[in-house]
Point group: C2
Chain length 219, copies 2
C-alpha cells in the first residue's frame, strides 16, 4: 500500500508530465512539493523499485502505466470530494481544494464509487475540471481560453486554468462563475484586456491575466 507521501509524488509527477509534455525533472518535482532535490531523488528511486515510475539517473521521471493509473485515480478522488464539499457542505470553489487534498488519500475504491453515485456522477468538479470515470477516462469538452476568442463570439464559462484563491475570489466578485454566459464585445490589443457582456446584462472589462485563465465553451 502506498503512503500519502508516495501518492503526493505520483500526483506531482503526473502534473508535470502533463503540463510540460515531457519527463519531470528532479528540480521541478522538488519545487512543486516543496522539498529538497535530494529527497526527490530518494523517493523517485523508491517509486522506481515499485514499478510506478520510469527512472534513469539524471534523465527525469515519467509514470509507468500503473503509475498513470494511480495518478488518475487520485485525481478522480480529489475532484469527487471537491464536488461533495461544495455541493453538499457549502464550501466555495476556492476553499474545497485544501480539504480534498487530505480526503483523496482515503483508501477505499468502493467508497469513491459510492460517493460518485451519491453526487449524481458529476463529470466536472467545481472548477470545471473533468472527473475521470472509474476506468480512468476523462470527459473531453470543446473549450477555448477567453483570449482565443474574437469580437462577437459568445460562450459559457466552463472552467479555470489557474486555481489560486485570489483568482477564484476575483471571479466570484465579478460574477464570472461557471455557467455564466458571455459575449466578447471588444478586444483591446494594447494590453490584451477584453470587454465582455455578462449574462446579457452587465458590461465588464477583464485583464489579460483573466482572459488567459478562463475556459469558455463557445455557443
Amino acid at each position: 500500500m502506498l503512503s500519502q507521501t508516495e501518492e503526493n509524488y505520483i500526483k506531482a509527477i503526473f502534473k508535470i508530465n502533463e503540463r510540460e509534455g515531457k519527463s519531470a525533472s528532479t528540480n521541478a518535482i522538488a519545487a512543486l512539493i516543496n522539498t529538497a532535490a535530494a529527497s526527490v531523488t530518494d523517493m523517485v528511486k523508491r517509486l522506481a523499485t515499485k514499478d510506478i515510475v520510469n527512472y534513469e539517473k539524471s534523465k527525469g521521471v515519467t509514470l509507468t502505466t500503473e503509475g498513470g493509473r494511480l495518478a488518475t485515480l487520485l485525481i478522480r478522488k480529489h475532484r469527487i470530494w471537491e464536488v461533495f464539499l461544495c455541493e453538499k457542505l457549502g464550501y466555495t470553489w476556492d476553499e474545497c481544494h485544501e480539504i480534498a487534498e487530505e480526503l483523496e488519500h482515503i483508501k477505499d475504491d468502493e467508497l469513491i464509487n459510492r460517493l460518485e453515485k451519491y453526487l449524481g456522477s458529476p463529470k466536472f468538479d467545481p472548477h470545471g475540471d473533468p472527473i475521470p470515470d472509474s476506468a480512468g477516462n476523462f470527459t473531453l469538452r470543446a473549450q477555448v481560453l477567453l483570449n482565443e476568442m474574437r469580437e462577437g463570439d459568445c460562450g459559457v464559462v466552463v472552467g479555470v486554468q489557474e486555481h489560486s484563491t485570489p483568482f477564484l475570489q476575483y471571479l466570484d466578485r465579478q460574477m464570472l462563475n461557471l455557467g455564466a454566459r458571455i459575449e466578447v464585445l471588444e478586444l483591446f490589443e494594447f494590453d490584451e484586456s477584453v470587454k465582455l457582456k455578462l449574462n446579457g446584462e452587465t458590461d465588464l472589462i477583464v485583464s489579460s491575466r483573466v482572459s488567459q485563465n478562463l475556459f469558455i465553451k463557445k455557443i
Copy 2:
C-alpha cells in the same frame, strides 16, 4: 499537529480509561492497537512531553484535560462519518467502522461541524453510540442491557455493546435492528437465554451472548 498514530494512541487510552475506569496499562494499550509493549512505552513518553497524557514509569497512563478533549473530538468525528457512510452512501453498520477509522483523522474542525449539520445533527451513530457535540458533551439515554430486564418488560433496541461484524450481521439476520420493539417473554436461567417477542410479531430466542450486548430503552 498530531500524527494519525498519535491520535490512535489517544483513542486507545481513552477507551481503556473508560472501560476499566482506571489508568491504562502499557500491555492493555499494546493489545488494543496491536503493537509491541516497547513501542507503547516510547509513544507514551512522547505524548507526555506534549501534555496529552499523564505518565509515571510503570504506573499506567491517563489522559490530561487536553488529551480528553482530543479523544472526544476524535470520537465525534468517527461517529459523524459513520452516520454519513450509512445514511448517505448505504454502508451497513458492520461496514462503516473501518472507513470511519480513516476519515476521523481528517484535520478540519469546520468540516466536521458542517457535516454534522448536513446530516441533521444526529445524536447517535449507526450503532446507537452517542455523538458528542462540538463542546464534547454526550447525550445520555436511560438504557439497560437486555439481560437486566425481567419477564414482561418492553423496550426498544437502541444500541450494541459489542461491535464485531459477526454480531452485527447476526442481529441483521434476526431483524434485531436499532428501533426494533421487543417484549421479554421468558428468561431461561440455565443458559441465560431470553425469549422475546419482536415488533409484536415474531417470537425469538437469543443467547446470553446477545442479551449481554444489546442495549434496550425500556418503555
